[in-house]
């Protein structure tokens, strides 16, 4: 048993119990349904802005892009304009590929010792695949949830739903009925990706070694969100009209506690609230930070265009005069030109 992930797992279980018991026995609907979500959104919004502004208050003194390809130099040498951007539009493209397609992670490869002590660097795209699958499906799931927050539901969200539920998964066993409501692929892929990311953190020794409880916590938490969501949609079935009436109440600032919605919904909502509130104080801020990373968001053109450092201060230097004063005699002797000849014969 690894205390690092047990800690996080227990934390998430406690959160679950908090919400579950809070609703089931204490009936704290207003707290879990209204106050906590509002507070969480507030903390999230303000926290993220605060963190970004905090970052922004430190300048970028130097232009330090990591160059991952040929620089722009002589006109006949093919320039790697994305990996070594020289202009801002190339930087935008580089950032776009970075943020949307995780381009740097795509380069990932695994180092291996081989027979004959030959090193090899092999295909290791699973992390990339897992990361892309996780982030994209999370995005799709979030956007899909806007159906609970908009009335009428915008067409583009409906299209996304259609696309997401294009493949039908319909079957019925003695224990399980799946098919109506239609199955959204994104939710399942999200869960699968989470499980992959979790397993890798648990069982790849290197990754486990560098992980903290704080790295497991969001995984378990988002897994909790996904599981509670999937449970409500595919197993328990909840009155989604009532839920939408409730969520619409939240966003129109007329919150009303709905009738007939089970505690799992409040667990789901509580998990989401925790995630939002936790976000600005954690590594999850990488979502914002990736945009501010100076090794990626700058052009490699500081030889062509001067970059100014706002805190550039004068430093003590060893001037030529001091230098010549020290070595003048020897310089003259060696026939090196000097600024000032010897004045008094040494």
């Amino acid at each position: 048993m690894n205390s690092k992930y047990m800690f996080s797992l227990v934390a998430v279980i406690i959160l679950f119990l908090l919400a579950y018991i809070g609703i089931e026995t204490a009936g704290l609907y207003t707290l879990f349904g209204i106050w906590i979500p509002y507070a969480a959104v507030f903390i999230f919004a303000v926290g993220v802005v605060y963190r970004v502004v905090d970052w922004a208050q430190s300048p970028v003194p130097f232009r330090i892009p990591t160059t991952c390809g040929q620089q722009k130099s002589l006109p006949w040498i093919r320039h790697a304009s994305i990996d070594n951007p020289a202009e801002n539009n190339n930087v935008v493209l580089r950032m776009f590929l970075e943020v949307v397609f995780f381009r740097s992670l795509f380069r990932n490869m695994r180092f291996d010792f081989n027979k004959g002590n030959k090193f090899s660097y092999e295909w290791e795209k699973w992390l990339w695949v897992g990361a892309i699958a996780f982030h994209w499906t999370l995005f799709v799931v979030v956007v899909r949830h806007l159906r609970f927050f908009t009335e009428p539901v915008p067409l583009c969200i409906q299209w996304l739903e259609t696309l997401d539920s294009f493949l039908r998964v319909e079957f019925m066993t003695d224990f399980l009925q799946i098919g109506l409501p239609g199955v959204f692929m994104s939710g399942l892929v999200l869960l699968a990706a989470l499980i992959y990311l979790l397993l890798r953190r648990m069982f790849i020794p290197q990754v486990n070694y560098i992980s903290f409880s704080a790295d497991f916590f969001p995984l378990f938490l988002i897994m909790g969100i996904a599981l509670s969501g999937l449970f409500m949609r595919y197993l328990a079935k909840v009155d989604i009209v009532a839920i939408k009436a409730f969520t619409m109440g939240l966003v129109t600032f007329h919150p009303v506690i709905p009738e007939g919605v089970g505690s799992v919904f409040y667990v789901h909502l509580f998990f989401v609230s925790i995630l939002l509130a936790y976000f600005p104080f954690s590594k999850l801020m990488h979502a914002g930070g990736v945009f501010l990373s100076p090794t990626r968001n700058m052009a490699n053109n500081s030889r062509a265009e001067r970059h100014v450092n706002p805190w550039n201060y004068p430093v003590k230097v060893h001037t030529y005069e001091e230098y010549e004063d020290e070595f003048r005699e020897k310089m003259i002797e060696a026939g090196l030109p000097v600024e000032k000849e010897l004045t008094n014969g040494g």
Binding site: E170, M172, D174, S263, V264
Partner: protein
């Protein structure tokens, strides 16, 4: 609130158990908690009036038909009842038909010789799904969308059909049609009691399974004024067996071993 959702979920287990075994309704232990006042049993069952058989079969007495006009009402009865579209344009290509008429040499290509008696040569024959005992289409279907029921009916589950049309290739009788397009615009008057189909699925005669379930014989049988007999092939006392005993009958492409359940008295 929570209980209701959970109970709903767990009911499925009960439902299915009932459906499969036909046993007494299963109690849902979870549902019982805190709801003692409420009856927790439910049941899914067959209609009492439903007609049952081990192998439904049909005997068509072609002697009772004179011309295409005699077949028209049967076909119409079936097609209007089942919302079978009339696709006029490209008649041959996208045609959908459950029961239709054709010449002897086409319905019985392996029997037709050069020299056929006048009546047989010109008489229109009814063709429909044979609900074979040994159906190649069921073998071919990769999703069990076509399946053989306990009562011998070869049935289509339109919800499950993926439209691969393997069954159409497998059927040696050309009994299956595919919805190359949305059929609805081609249905003159929709019968709300029976679903239409959607584009992309295969369909065919279902021996009026929906009518048998409520104790009625198939529409074509009803409309045939006694020219078509319908009954259990495994019941020696049945009307159809009586007819087979007393008449010479033929079946379509018997040599293929599919054992069609539709017999023709000629």
């Amino acid at each position: 609130m929570m209980q209701s959702s959970r109970r709903n979920f767990l009911k499925i287990a009960g439902l299915s158990a009932v459906g499969i075994s036909g046993a007494k309704p299963v109690l849902d232990a979870f549902a019982a908690e805190g709801h003692g006042d409420e009856r927790t049993e439910f049941e899914i069952r067959k209609n009492e009036k439903a007609l049952t058989a081990q192998q439904w079969g049909m005997v068509i007495d072609t002697r009772k038909f004179e011309s295409a006009a005699d077949l028209e009402p049967l076909i119409e009865a079936c097609h209007s009842l089942h919302n079978v579209p009339h696709i006029d344009e490209n008649k041959v290509r996208h045609e959908v038909k459950w029961i239709w008429e054709d010449e002897y040499k086409h319905v019985f290509p392996t029997l037709a010789g050069k020299f056929v008696d006048e009546r047989t040569e010109h008489l229109p024959f009814l063709a429909l799904c044979n609900h074979c005992e040994n159906p190649p289409c069921v073998r071919a279907c990769p999703t069990k969308a076509t399946f053989k029921r306990e009562d011998g009916i070869v049935l289509m589950d339109f919800h499950r059909c993926i439209g691969c049309r393997f069954c159409m290739a497998a059927c040696p009788y050309g009994s299956r049609s595919f919805n190359f397009k949305d059929p609805r615009p081609f249905i003159k008057e929709r019968n709300p009691e029976f679903p239409t189909r959607m584009k992309g699925v295969v369909e065919k005669c279902n021996f009026c399974a929906e009518r048998l379930a409520v104790g009625k014989k198939p529409a074509c049988v009803e409309a045939s004024n006694g020219a078509i007999a319908f009954g259990d092939m495994n019941d020696p006392e049945s009307e159809v067996r009586e007819l087979l005993k007393s008449n010479y009958t033929i079946r379509r492409k018997k040599g293929l071993g599919t054992e069609p359940a539709v017999y023709y008295i000629v």
